[in-house]
Structures are given as structure tokens and as C-alpha cells.
């Protein structure tokens, strides 16, 4: 194994760098900028059972050191993902991906996961119970430990692939939600999704986003995400995938010291399309600077 290799739920990654869902489409936009096979893996755009247009626009607002989005899970639906997006992805990416799944009911989560379970390109199912931008679904499953556990069980019942439950930071006690998922059979936890936020336009005196509120991401949220990864990682025994504002090789190492086995990079991809490639290239030099021989040795090192 090389210096950057890590193992996530039994699948070996060349490095821990994984573009986060919703910031990397289905991969091919980025393949125009670089060979995306340098990535450890990537998490595809959140997929639901039926096609969704998502929220009305504006869906994007700027924030100090970050951005707020309220896209609302726009996606072509799982059948189109399987019929069109995955074959297109196969032309530019040859490693297992995290298939990110969203839903508005237990049945929908299970149905989407069941369809994706048969896809050889899918290495892990990342189940999003934390989208702050849709109503009657998404985050409501991730704010109650009992509901989070129920979604976990529903998904585990229909798939043999490792299940990563993606948690919301918009809760009082994220450790309780993580533990509930672990007890229900989750293979890993990823966190954090975005923090609920909003902006108001001073000229119109109205919210900037058509959805009124959205999710804050970017460097602004990194210390919050790091704290939650640290809290969760020391409280459970399954792996943690850390994300939230990660923008540099140093941030990746910090997340891993907090307890992350792998690290997702989100908003940074949207402003710097080559950032994941650059982070992977810079990691060995930054590891040298801090006396790190192998990344897998530092996971949870601060705990």
C-alpha cells in the first residue's frame, strides 16, 4: 500500500480524497479539466426515485468564506442515472463510486438503494438523511435518532453494499444520531451536510434564495465540521468520512486527525475545479512537513 492509501468499509482507496455529492455532478464536467481517476473516489449527485427539477432560482447566495445553496436535489431520477449517467461515467472514471441517495419516505430510500445495489460501479451507498433544502423529507430523517435508525435498517435490508449514512449538523446532539445509525447496522457515517443559513437582499428586503433558506458550505464551516467529526469518531466504532469546508491538503490531514478515514471535498470544487487533483499532489509534501509516513496511521490521532 502507498502512503496515501486508506481502506473504507473493506474497499481500498488510492487516497482519501473524495469530491462530495452535489459539487461534482456525475463526474464528466470535471473530466474536462483533469483525469479524475486520480481521485480516491467521488460521491455522485444525490439521486431520488423520480426525476426532480429542484427548487426555483435563485438557488445560490454568497457568504463570507463560503456559499449557501438551495438546489433542492435536482436529479434525473435513479432509472436515468443507471441508464445514462453511469454508462457515461464509465468512460471517464474506472473506480467504485459513492452513490448518494435521497428520499422522501423510507420506501423511497429503500427503492433507490435496491436499484443501485445491482450496479457494479457503485462501491458504497451514501444515504443522505440531511438535505436542508427539501420539505417533508431529507433532513427530517436525520434530526431524529429513531428515524435515522429506521432509514438505516430499511436500506441495509435491500443492499449488500456498504452503507454510509450522511448526517446533518442541524441537530442538538449529532453523536446520538450517529450512534443510532451504527446500532441499526450502518457501515460508516459521513458528516457534515450543510448548515442551514440565509441571506437578505438589502435592495429588495427579501431573502436572496427563492427557497428562503439554504445550506452553508465552504471554509466557513470547516471548524464546525471538524468538531463534529471529532465528537462522532470518538463515540462510534465504524469509520467516519469527514467533510465540510475542506480546501487544502492540511485540512485533509486535520480531518483525519479528528477521526476521518476518508475526506470529502465539496464547495471548493465549484470555485477551483482542479482542487482535488492539487490536494492529492500536495499531500506527500505536507505529510513530510509534519512527519507523517502513512495517512492511515493518523486516523483519529487527535482523539
Amino acid at each position: 500500500m502507498g502512503r496515501l492509501n486508506v481502506t473504507l468499509c473493506g474497499i481500498e482507496l488510492d487516497n482519501p480524497v473524495i469530491p462530495a455529492s452535489g459539487t461534482f455532478g456525475y463526474g464528466h464536467e470535471f473530466a474536462e479539466f483533469y483525469d479524475i481517476n486520480v481521485l480516491g473516489s467521488f460521491s455522485c449527485k444525490g439521486t431520488t426515485l423520480a426525476p426532480r427539477f429542484g427548487n426555483e432560482t435563485p438557488r445560490i447566495a454568497e457568504a463570507p468564506a463560503g456559499m449557501i445553496n438551495a438546489v433542492g436535489l435536482q436529479n434525473p431520477g435513479v432509472d436515468a442515472v443507471i441508464a445514462e449517467e453511469l454508462p457515461r461515467l464509465a468512460q471517464c472514471f474506472h473506480k467504485p463510486i459513492l452513490a448518494n441517495v435521497s428520499g422522501f419516505s423510507m420506501e423511497e430510500y429503500a427503492a433507490v438503494c435496491q436499484k443501485l445495489d445491482s450496479q457494479p460501479q457503485v462501491g458504497w451507498l451514501e444515504v443522505n438523511i440531511s438535505c436542508p433544502n427539501v420539505h417533508g423529507g431529507g433532513m427530517s430523517f436525520g434530526t431524529d435518532p429513531a428515524q435515522a435508525a429506521a432509514v438505516t435498517r430499511a436500506v441495509k435490508a435491500v443492499t449488500a453494499k456498504p452503507v454510509i449514512m450522511k448526517l446533518s449538523p442541524n441537530v442538538t446532539d449529532i453523536v446520538a444520531v450517529a450512534k443510532a445509525c451504527e446500532e441499526a447496522g450502518a457501515d460508516a457515517i459521513s458528516l457534515i451536510n450543510t448548515l442551514m443559513a440565509m441571506r437578505i437582499d438589502l435592495k429588495t428586503r427579501r431573502p436572496v434564495l427563492a427557497n428562503t433558506t439554504g445550506g452553508l458550505s465552504g471554509p466557513a464551516v470547516f471548524p464546525v465540521a471538524l468538531r463534529m467529526v471529532w465528537q462522532v469518531a470518538r463515540s462510534i466504532s465504524i469509520p467516519v468520512v469527514g467533510l465540510g469546508g475542506v480546501s487544502s491538503a492540511e485540512d485533509v490531514i486535520e480531518m483525519m486527525l479528528a477521526g476521518a478515514t476518508a475526506v470529502e471535498i465539496g464547495a471548493a470544487n465549484l470555485v477551483d475545479p482542479c482542487i482535488c487533483k492539487r490536494i492529492i499532489e500536495e499531500l506527500p509534501e505536507v505529510m513530510d512537513r509534519y512527519g507523517i509516513d502513512n495517512l492511515r496511521d493518523i486516523i483519529g490521532g487527535a482523539n
Binding site: E32, F53, T57, R59, M67, V71, L270, V271
Partner: protein, 245 residues
């Protein structure tokens, strides 16, 4: 699409709020008028999308309006500033359907992308009529530059201080044209859509996240399905447009 560094070689005010910036760099990814670039600014998280006004060799011309903190920061930039640009974004205008005498219609900051389009249409042998709309005489820019390209230019101002009084649509009556191309604020696009005869292409503006198709921040519905303004747009054909209201 390409990410590369450009150097500011000119940053000249054209009016109180409109500025022309020229940059030198690798323009090879910019293939069509109507495309845009996305500019990274120090201290701002999101890039600023600006339409391409002209490309001559390795010199890129942008004309932008100062509307907020980001564009104000651009106005202050001295010659020699290095900027990180994503270039070759968006589909741009399709010139193949222009016919012998196309009409180009630009309003306000929708005027700049019509300049390179007009230049290419003239070079292709078209007889171009350009209708350029502004709020008032003090906001007019680039009329002489369009005339220098060989276009017949009609100016419209909302306050009537120069040219036809009213909106660009008030200047369309009686014009004979084979096809139309337009860019401007959405109310103007809607008015042109209703007033202009025949087929044409309209360029839209929307608040964007990434500018290259990854975030789904700027999606719109069309007759032919959902489109990303930054990727399958910003130029849409008249027949595929589906207005939200």
C-alpha cells in the same frame, strides 16, 4: 473549458458604472460569441461570471457593470493584476442560422456580447442591424464601435434623450431581418421574445454557483427539458424557451 491566469492590460471606464477590461492570456478555449468567463477575486468565495465582449489573439475584452462589491473590486484593479479565469464557458451563439441580414439586439450590459457576435456575422458576409438599448444618454457605450464594424446601429433610450424613445422593442417596427440574436435583462428578453418576428436566440443571465455545470445552481425549465444556464445555455433558442410565469 480551461482554467488559466490572465494579466489585466487595460481597465478603462466607459460610463459612470460600465468598465472595459482587457486581459492577456490563453484564449484558446473561447470558441463562440455569447460564451462567458468566470473570474476568481481575492477574498470572494464565488467567481464572477462576465460575458465575452471580444477576443483578438491572446487579448480578451470584457465589459462589466459595477453592481456590487465584486465588480467594484474589479474596477479598482491596476494594469498588471493577475487573475484566475475559467474560460470557454457556456454554449454561445450559433451563427449558422443567421441568414443574409440578421438583427442583433442588446440592452445595457447585454450589449457587450453582441459586439463579437456582430464582428463575426459581418466577417461571414452578413448585413447586420444592431439595436442597442440604454436607460439614458449618459449610459450609452460602444455605439461607435458597432458602427465601425459595419453594422447599421439604432439606439433606443428609455428617457428618449438619444435615438428612439423607449425600449429596444420600440425600435423593431418596420425592420426587415432574417434572424435575431439578443442579450439583456430578463424583462427585455421577454419583450423581445414577444415582439420579434421569426426565429432567434436569446442569452439569459442567472445567479450561478460554479459556472461550468457542476452545482445545478442556475437550472431552468425549457420545452426540451431542464437546462443549466451555465452549460446548455446561456443561449437558448426562441422555440425552446418556457417562461416561468
Amino acid at each position: 473549458m480551461k482554467q488559466s491566469y490572465f494579466t489585466v492590460v487595460e481597465n478603462t471606464p466607459l460610463t459612470d458604472t460600465v468598465v472595459r477590461m482587457r486581459l492577456r492570456g490563453d484564449t484558446s478555449a473561447i470558441t463562440r460569441p455569447g460564451q462567458f468567463v468566470n473570474i476568481r477575486l481575492e477574498g470572494r468565495f464565488l467567481r464572477r461570471p462576465i460575458s465575452v465582449c471580444d477576443v483578438e489573439g491572446d487579448v480578451l475584452t470584457l465589459i462589466y457593470k459595477v453592481v456590487g462589491g465584486g465588480t467594484e473590486q474589479m474596477r479598482q484593479m491596476p494594469v498588471g493584476t493577475q487573475l484566475d479565469l475559467l474560460t470557454g464557458l457556456g454554449n454561445g451563439y450559433d451563427l449558422t442560422e443567421a441568414g443574409p441580414n440578421p438583427l442583433v439586439i442588446g440592452g445595457g450590459v447585454g450589449v457587450p456580447p453582441m459586439y463579437w457576435l456582430t464582428k463575426q456575422l459581418v466577417a461571414a458576409g452578413c448585413k447586420v442591424t444592431a439595436v442597442l438599448g440604454f436607460n439614458n444618454g449618459s449610459e450609452i457605450f460602444y455605439v461607435d464601435e458597432f458602427r465601425a464594424l459595419g453594422a447599421e446601429v439604432i439606439v433606443a433610450t428609455v428617457d428618449g434623450s438619444v435615438g428612439v424613445k423607449g425600449f429596444v422593442t420600440n425600435a423593431l417596427a418596420g425592420l426587415d431581418y432574417s434572424y435575431f440574436y439578443t442579450c439583456g435583462p430578463e424583462p427585455m428578453l421577454k419583450a423581445v421574445y414577444r415582439a420579434a418576428e421569426g426565429e432567434g436566440q436569446l442569452s439569459f443571465e442567472k445567479r450561478m454557483g460554479c459556472g461550468f455545470g457542476a452545482c445545478m445552481g442556475c437550472s431552468c425549465r425549457t420545452i426540451t427539458g431542464n437546462k443549466r444556464i451555465c452549460k446548455e445555455g446561456p443561449v437558448l433558442r426562441k422555440e425552446e424557451i418556457q417562461w416561468d410565469d
